[in-house]
């Protein structure tokens, strides 16, 4: 088995998975990922859906995505251990060292803050890269196209401002 697949092979496999998930033989539903995070927050901190409007709203999609993400974690673990053989503990990505800094504290600080902001942003928008891009843009949903355009542009502008020029 090859240790890495190209964007081309990856794109075909991902398209097949999107179609299978949408189909009546699959889950009859789109792929989504960001709803599991507030759902897990509710599970960990014991938030009662009867007291929190948002918890009640996401109970079903949150549970579905929660189970899916457990599968995704296991899929990633299996591949990194046995196929790509990339499993190892690390803190600072190489490109971060090259274009930002070598400080563990800095990387962990920015990881925490951006993780926090990312979920607030995804829940405000009602979806993330999976829900709005993969599933939304595949249905040619206008909501997904607007989100996709804004995110792509913001990512590149942030990249310009946040990282050093090479």
């Amino acid at each position: 088995m090859p240790r890495k697949i190209s964007w081309f092979t990856g794109g075909i496999l991902m398209a097949l998975l999107i179609l299978f998930t949408f189909s009546v033989w699959g889950a009859n539903r789109p792929i989504g990922a960001s709803t599991y995070v507030p759902y897990f927050a509710g599970v960990i901190f014991g938030l009662d859906p009867q007291h929190y409007e948002y918890m009640a709203q996401i109970e079903k999609p949150g549970a579905w995505e929660g189970v899916m993400l457990i599968g995704a974690f296991l899929g990633g673990l299996f591949m990194s251990l046995f196929v790509t053989k990339t499993f190892r503990f690390s803190v600072i990505p190489h490109l971060w060292k090259e274009r930002k800094n070598h400080s563990v504290a800095s990387r962990l600080f920015w990881s925490f803050v951006s993780g926090f902001v990312m979920i607030v942003g995804a829940r405000l928008a009602g979806g993330c890269t999976s829900g709005h891009f993969l599933s939304g843009a595949s249905q040619i949903a206008v909501s997904g196209l607007i989100f996709g355009g804004i995110v792509m542009a913001t990512v590149i502008v942030t990249g310009r401002l946040f990282y050093k020029k090479k």
Binding site: P38, E53, T154
Partner: protein, 201 residues
């Protein structure tokens, strides 16, 4: 907490969107594809922000282009249904900007994060904990956030806007995305720590 987790599996079992095993299987394949294509790495998403690596936009455009044409045929045949998200304009614009900034700095999205944690990335685990607190904050502040998420412009699709020409719109859209995927320069940041080789097409 244990009974909440058991409850999660129960909901999936009774919801009618596939059994727990099927949903776990979909997730497993999702994680496996992303890990195998290595797009869970910081160097792929943040690398795109720095215009050092184009794997993510190429794969994203390609898979969406293929899936859009396939999905349209499946819906016509009755094998799938639309599940379109509404255009909550305020939420999508403000949320999209926050999401884009965070994605460039974190180098992950909510889908690739856990897969990255699964290959031993401690920084991503810390980011995931940040995400849990973000989810907690959003849940708590939802009554307030709700006011800035509108107006709801409805569940529109592009083919739906061109009554009678839906086939053509889907075909042009799908082919255009595939062409764009090939047209984006094949830039790949090779991580010396992983001793990566450039993947063949």
């Amino acid at each position: 907490m244990i009974d909440r987790i058991m409850h999660m599996f129960e909901i999936v079992n009774t919801e009618g969107h596939g059994s727990v095993w099927l949903v776990l299987f979909i997730g497993f394949v999702f994680g496996a594809i992303i890990q195998w294509a290595r797009v869970d790495k910081f160097e792929k998403i943040a690398g795109f922000a720095m215009l050092e690596d184009m794997t993510v936009p190429k794969m994203l455009f390609f898979s969406i282009g293929l899936a859009s044409i396939g999905l349209y045929f499946m819906i016509e045949a009755g094998w799938a249904h639309y599940h379109v998200k509404p255009i909550m304009l305020g939420g999508i614009v403000i949320g999209g900007i926050l999401f884009g900034i965070a994605m460039a700095i974190f180098g992950k999205c909510p889908g690739t994060g856990p897969i990255s944690v699964a290959e031993g990335r401690i920084d991503v685990l810390v980011g995931a904990i940040g995400g849990i607190f973000g989810g907690l904050f959003f849940t708590w502040a939802y009554p307030w956030f709700k006011q800035i998420m509108g107006p709801n412009l409805g569940k529109l699709t592009l083919p739906g806007l061109f009554e009678g020409h839906a086939h053509l719109v889907v075909l042009i859209y799908g082919i255009a995305l595939v062409v764009v995927a090939f047209a984006i320069p094949n830039l790949e940041y090779l991580d010396p720590e992983d001793h990566e080789d450039k993947a063949e097409l």
